[in-house]
Each structure stands twice: as C-alpha cells, then as structure tokens.
Symmetry: C2
Subunit: 341 residues, 2 copies
Amino acid sequence: MNKPSNRPLTLRDVSEASGVSEMTVSRVLRNRGDVSAATRQKVLQAAKRLGYVPNKIAGALASQRVNLVAVIIPSMSNMVFPEVMTGISRTLEDTELQPVVGITDYLPEKEEKVLYEMLSWRPSGVIIAGLEHSDASRAMLKASGIPVVEIMDTDGQPVDSVVGISHRTAGRKMGEAIAAAGYRRIAFLGTKMPLDHRARKRFEGFTQALAKAGIEVADQEFYSGGSALAKGREMTETVLKRTPDLDFIYYSNDMIGAGGLLYLLEKGVRIPGKMGLAGFNGVELLQGLPMRLATMDACRFEIGRKAAEIILARSREDSGDTSPERIELTPTLSRGDTLRS
Amino acid sequence: MNKPSNRPLTLRDVSEASGVSEMTVSRVLRNRGDVSAATRQKVLQAAKRLGYVPNKIAGALASQRVNLVAVIIPSMSNMVFPEVMTGISRTLEDTELQPVVGITDYLPEKEEKVLYEMLSWRPSGVIIAGLEHSDASRAMLKASGIPVVEIMDTDGQPVDSVVGISHRTAGRKMGEAIAAAGYRRIAFLGTKMPLDHRARKRFEGFTQALAKAGIEVADQEFYSGGSALAKGREMTETVLKRTPDLDFIYYSNDMIGAGGLLYLLEKGVRIPGKMGLAGFNGVELLQGLPMRLATMDACRFEIGRKAAEIILARSREDSGDTSPERIELTPTLSRGDTLRS
DNA sequence: CTGAAAGCGCTAACAA
DNA sequence: TTGTTAGCGCTTTCAG
C-alpha cells in the first residue's frame, strides 16, 4: 500500500498516470471534443484508480463559468420555503446548474451579507425571495450582470424578473369571501414581523376588502418566536377572552390557524357556524387535522419551478438580450370545513 | 451616468481607480498586513464607489483555501434537519466558515453524486448525516484529506469524527419504559424506508427491549410519502382495525404520532390508560397538541453545534495531527401525557 | 508599509 | 484526434 500523500490530486497526476496530455484528460473528464475510445478508456481508468476529483475552483476560474444558482430565502424552518426549494431542485436536477441556498432570517442586513458572499462566487443566476431589499443589495444585483429572479411576491418593482403571487390580492380575496359568507366580527392573528412584507401585504388587502364591505377588523394579535401551533392556541384564547363575540379569525399562516382550530374544537365551538377560520399557504400538514382549515395555496412549488426555468433559459441563451419576465400566479381558495359558503 | 460595462470588476479596476497597487488593494480588502490609514481609505472608497465584489474563485485558487463547509443531509422537509442546520449555522455564523448544504433524499447514489460535487469545490470540511455510505463515498471522504464529521448516529464505524446519539439505545430505552409501564399489546408504526438506517436501528433496539420483557410486537405498519400527519391517522385506524386489543403504539416520528394522537382523541379513546402513545424527535410542534405526546429528543441542535465546532477547530489547528472525535449524546425521554409512569 | 513576480489547477484557442 | 501555449483573478513570497 502506497503512502498516500495528502496533497489533493490534480489533472497532471491523471495525465502522468495515463500517459495522456492534461488537455486530453480534461476533455475526457468533461466529455468535450472528440477523443478516441482507447484514450478515453485509459484516462477514465486512471482517474478512477487514483480517486481523482476535479477542482472546480480552477475550472471555474479558467472557463469563467460557474454552474451555481444562488437561492436566497428568509428561512428554512417553516413549511413554505422548503417547497419552493423542491420546485427549484426538481427543475435543475438534470441540468448542469446547481442551487446553493443562503438564509436571511428576514433581516435585510443579513440578506445583504449573504448576497455579497454568494455573488463573490460568481454564480450563473440569483433567485431571491421578496421585492424589498436594501439599496446596497439592489445595487449589487443590478451590477452583477447575471439573471436575477425575485420570487413569492409580485406587488412591487422587480430588479429583473419576478415570479410570484400578489399577496395583496390574496388577502383581499380572502376578505371578500369571508364578508360574503356573512361573517361580521372578524379578527386577524399574525406574526409580529414588520419585515415579513408578504404577511403585511395580505393584511392590507384583507382590511381593504373588509372596509369595502363596511367591516372593520374587530381585534388583532401578533406573535413572534415559539412553536407556531402553540402560539395559535394561545393567541386564539387571548383574543377570544378580549373580544368574545368574534365570528371569524383570519390567521396569517396555516400553522397558527391549525393551533387555533385545535383549541376551538377542544372548547366545543361550532365551526364554521359559530366561528369561521382561515389560514394561508395550503400546507400539507392540514390534511391530517380533524377539520380542513380554509386556506389559500401560495403556489410555492410552482414558483420555484418557474424561477429555476427562467434562470436556466437565460444561462443557455447567453447572448440574446432577453427582457425580464414577470409571472404572476393565481392562488386558489380552499374553503375546507371552516369557512361556510 | 457611465455606460456600465458588463464585465465584472477586478482588483485591477480598484487598483487603477485608487492609484494603489493590486497587492495593497488585496491587503486592504482582506485586512491583512499593515496598510497606512490613508491608503486604506483610498482603496475602500474606490472599491465601494465601483461596487467591487471580490472574486472568491480566484482567491480560493490562489490561496488554496475555501471557507466552505459541505453539509450533506437526506432532507430538509421534515423537522429534524432544519434544526441541525440551525445548530451548525449558529456556530459558524461569526467565523470565516460558511455552510453549504446538499440534499440526498435518502438515496446512496444521490449522496455519492452530491458528495463528489461538493468535494470538487475543495471545502474546509464535511458534515454528513449517517454512518452508512457507499464504498465510493467512503473512499472519497477518506481521500479528501479534509475533516469529516458524520452526524446523527453513533451505531457504527465512522470515517473520521462522529457526533450523534445511539438510535439503537433510544429505541431500547423507549421499549423498556413502555414495558415497565405495563403495556403489553404493542404496535410499531413507521416509514417504509429501508434506507432510513436510524429509524431501523430504533426499531431494532425497541424490539430487543420488548423481547427481553417477554413481549413481541403485536402489529406493525409502514408508510411512504404523503402528509405525515394524515398518514399517522390512517395507519392508526388501519392497525386498530386489524388488531383491536392494542394498548400501545410506538411511532417512528412525532409527526405521525401526532396524527395518531388526534385520531384517537376524536374517537374518544382514553389516553394513556386504554392506549399509550410515543413518538420520536421531540419536535416543537408537539407543544401545540391537545395532549403532549411522549417522545425522545434527538439532540438535533446540539449535534449541529458540536459537529460545526469540530470542523472549526480542525480548520484552525491546521497542523496538529488531531485524532478523530467521537461524541455520543444522550437523548432524554419525555413521558408527556401519553405514556403512564 | 508597499510593490513585483510567480503561479494556484484548470480550460480556451490555436496549432499540429 | 491530440498537444501546446497562455492566461482566468487572485494571493504568496520575497524584495524594497
């Protein structure tokens, strides 16, 4: 057994081991150009025997091409972004492109840092959540010269392309459905995140719709941190104690909605007669609840898919002065069992 | 407004714009070596004005140092790995190191592909879930010459360092507690994944413990795909129809356990008297359920933290012939309200 | 404190 | 079909 030197192997090692020039070895390993079957064999054999792993750093520098797509999202721990990622991965998995994710925790400074970090690897494209970014971030995105797709939200001015839904419209639609169903004493429960712009926009659309129906939000409550399911419970209790005559609660996400639903079922509240409920996102989790919560799906998977497709198309055209795309998807309302029609 | 050339900026551009040599610009941008305050000012100003973003590809190639840590995990869509990631991120966030994740979907071939891909970027370390890998993967890890930490599981032979819990012991402990509590007609519900080695090991430990108490598993059922909560419901119904005299169900994860719990509560089954329940993982979600499910926490956050610390320490020592670490954490059993004592 | 030269490991472009 | 040459943009090293 040879003493394994700890130096990583290089093309040169494979070249020497196979008696083929570095250039040809490189060709074989990338399936580029014509190489005779015999040489190809020799090279592949030597590479495998040595356990050679190409150095992408050097390759990227030389070819000025990096097959990475930067994906910048606020969080991975709720149910929404993992599904967006799934959409992205599915689309990219049989291509040369590879997603790399960065997490911002809903903090603009962190977004800026992460973006800078990722751009310094010169990716082939950027997929980034939301339309609200710091001036510096926006400047970096513009200056990068690579395709940028902002996702989730279409209410605002994109840097380049955008794929999402209008959260304002989503909130409005839900407000209209609730008012039309005859509910009048309506509360809103959500996250205490001034930086969650999409939740904010849904709330705005929601109150607008209610206002148009002559209804004012009867109560509201916000939380931060902790188990969303538990928070949904607590907040529901709190708000009902404060405003006992509520007949509807709109939750800014399904998880707290599920918590509220479980709480109310325990209390024996008649749903959707005495009290109606709705959430947002259309998460799979809801399937297992005793009652199906009314919700609106956010087209998460589809958004990921479309965004990835845009990057992919751009990275291939290369030249064509492609104009920015703008894709607005339409979320569908599910009444479930908690919103009477 | 200048016509923005689309070529990314280089050190040279900053050098020319500031009248300082490339070398000194590089020093300023990396805070390396002594540079006069005046020069530093000039450089920073020019860099900011131009919107220069350093090219890490070139930097990494020249310095033979990449501040990335490859994190390879099976999935991001259950509740377990996001928390491991949180532990890793927290530890790394104020260091020079940055995690980059790759997903394997529990498929060895995909793990091999992802690993190869990541190693080709020459990261400073690898954190990889599980101890079971293909021969090729294991060979790559060994040949890479970089620190490797296998996480989650300690029942097996690590390539290098390992941080986790013994899932076999976890299953055994739960089995012992259940037997000691007097339950006798016990079922196991889990995932249909022959490749989820940790779930398998828990099951093995579990049946062993029961055997020692003279008990055989009365029934079992496995699922794959779909909403875990809903599956928990269905499977519970199925297994109770088949074996009505069960007095305990052990679920291989909390999510299906929660589904089962909700189902049984609806049916009005007396818990934990008539029927006991337990899950695994200690997920936060359980906080919001009507009843606290018995479970065992898997030390997810702590595992991430420790693993990252090992990589960090190694990447700093550099030289010292550090021996592999082996850290076995001890999960704690929570009886909740569904396992009588 | 600052700069000049050399080269990291690979690939584009051209030559044979 | 194969090989040679010249960098990619940065950092290391060594000399001022």
